[in-house]
């Protein structure tokens, strides 16, 4: 049963500290998404990659957030320095391109990383 995995599942840190979240997409999936979820804003898209290349990071605060895919099996989301307003659940999702190359709306989500910044 292929699944997206995320680590850590929970992270508590202090303001100003660096936070790195990791995601392993489903093997064979070539598109990876990072989302942030809060009660107030709902589920927001931060960034996404196709074939490891960043396609859109317009939802991400550029001054403190960065997203990378060092290889096809690992995606990272880093916050430096972290702030209390970054407290949220961060989800990673992956998808596989359709044969006709249209966007694939069936995304598979990981369990999320719950981040608390004190």
């Amino acid at each position: 049963d292929a699944r997206v995995t995320q680590t850590p599942r929970d992270k508590v840190t202090e303001m100003g500290q660096e936070v790195t979240m990791r995601c392993q997409p489903i093997l064979g999936h070539n598109t990876v998404f990072w989302y942030r979820q809060t009660m107030m804003q709902g589920l927001e898209l931060l960034a996404y990659f196709r074939n490891r290349a960043p396609l859109d990071d317009s939802g991400m605060p550029k001054d403190r957030f960065s997203a990378e895919m060092p290889d096809a099996t690992l995606a990272t989301l880093k916050i430096q320095p972290s702030e209390p307003r970054d407290s949220a659940v961060y989800f990673c999702a992956s998808a596989r391109d359709r044969v006709d190359l249209r966007p694939n709306n069936e995304q598979f989500f990981g369990p999320g990383t719950r981040l608390t910044v004190l």
């Binding site: 898209l45 396609l55 859109d56 999702a93 709306n105 369990p111």
Partner: protein, 107 residues
């Protein structure tokens, strides 16, 4: 981006049929309509997708009228375990989820 609108919350009782409607303003010709379900403390899960008319799977039915300006997710005979948030995300080259519809099923 195409804009979708759905109710913030709905309540139901076990055994009832629940219909959640989403409006799809300015949906593009090539866009499919997709619904996701999210249980507490879990990531969203794809449940159904369609282009027009009706689609049914083991989880739900999706009704899309000819003009495609709306869609209705139908959950037959809900149970307590159907309590979740349901999303009909906006689409372009990516999905925009928003806050979804919070369904609460009571015994």
């Amino acid at each position: 981006l195409a804009k979708t609108t759905q109710p913030i919350s709905m309540d139901s009782y076990e055994g009832q049929e629940v219909n959640i409607t989403c409006s799809h303003n300015n949906i593009a010709t090539n866009d499919y309509i997709t619904w996701y379900q999210q249980f507490p403390s879990q990531g969203p899960r794809f449940i159904i997708q369609g282009y027009k008319t009706k689609v049914t799977n083991e989880v739900a039915s999706l009704f899309i009228p000819a003009d495609r300006k709306s869609s209705t997710l139908s959950l037959p005979r809900v149970s307590l375990s159907d309590t979740a948030v349901y999303y009909c995300p906006e689409q372009a080259d990516k999905l925009i989820f928003g806050t979804g519809t919070r369904l609460q099923v009571f015994p």
